[in-house]
Symmetry: C2
Subunit: 187 residues, 2 copies
């Protein structure tokens, strides 16, 4: 997925503004299992996924909980770092070899003050991430794990192929045993 497409999808930018934004972005690659972001640190960069799949997880007591998957076209970001300059909760681990676009957020902050189009791009970016987060929250509050699993099959069936069920069970908020029972009932 090309970076121009990702950026313009968020909010179409005039040529000059787009060029300024692109100047803050590099392309980088990391292997499967690489830990891209560490929890409890302030992250200075955000990433857009060109190719690959990743998961965000954190610890509850001793056990790891996976709370997000990201794939092509999506953004890897520690919102707490980005918005409030505070340490975030997420560890981000690559589940496949990945190609990423890396954006220095400090440079971005400067552009927000200088260019109204980029400020509105930043607004739309936050708004769209907000809608996604809200949808996740609503799904969690209103659907059972079984329903969310069915949704996952319907709308993100590639996840099943690319991610092991232990992570998916954790993401759904149930044990792997429970997920196995749900899968069993569908047969």
């Amino acid at each position: 997925m090309q970076i121009q497409q990702i950026l313009n999808q968020i909010y179409p930018l005039p040529e000059a503004s787009l060029a300024q934004l692109l100047a803050c972005i590099d392309e980088v690659s990391f292997p499967r299992k690489h830990l891209l972001l560490k929890a409890e640190t302030i992250e200075k960069k955000i990433y857009f996924i060109k190719k690959g799949i990743v998961r965000a997880y954190a610890y509850q007591n001793d056990t790891e909980i996976t709370f997000w998957f990201g794939k092509e076209g999506e953004t890897i970001i520690s919102m707490k770092s980005y918005v409030a300059n505070q340490p975030g909760y997420e560890n981000i681990e690559l589940l496949e070899d990945c190609q990423l676009y890396e954006l220095q957020t400090e440079k971005l902050q400067t552009l927000f003050e200088q260019d109204i189009h980029i400020a509105n791009w930043g607004r739309k970016f936050a708004e769209q991430e907000l809608i996604k987060t809200e949808e996740r929250l609503i799904a969690r509050q209103f659907s059972t794990a079984a329903e969310r699993y069915t949704d996952l099959i319907k709308n993100h069936s590639d996840l099943l192929r690319r991610v092991s069920l232990g992570y998916i069970a954790s993401y759904l908020g149930i044990t792997q045993v429970s997920l196995s029972r749900i899968r069993g009932e569908k047969r």
Copy 2:
């Protein structure tokens, strides 16, 4: 709570920009039990709460689920309407007589394109709402209902006084019977 304080808390605005924003805002009052926002409609306004407390709820099958409480200084908004001009999920009911500041979002959208300070105000607004939503999601995914109830007592003890336990149980994602059991164990 004064509107200038609410607005400037989000992002400090120059005099002229603030004046433009204030020109889009009216003060309104509604009684307890008034239904301020209806689900499945596109809402053209957002509200800031001057005085009072409200809840957002939606239906899961036949049963009402309360998924948010708002009080003084907070924003009542259908994010789906605001961001995507699509019908939202929230019904908003006033739990007390309320004084609100009402903002016409259409006018706001125009200002975003004209004034970089207001564009950045809008960006910060979305970012801060995003952090709040993310924190709610994390709390839900990482804490048990009992832990979230303890949190509620610690950080929002006024809710216990102002809101009946049935709504709080629903908000915590458990039945009222379960909440009663949790409360019983603490004695």
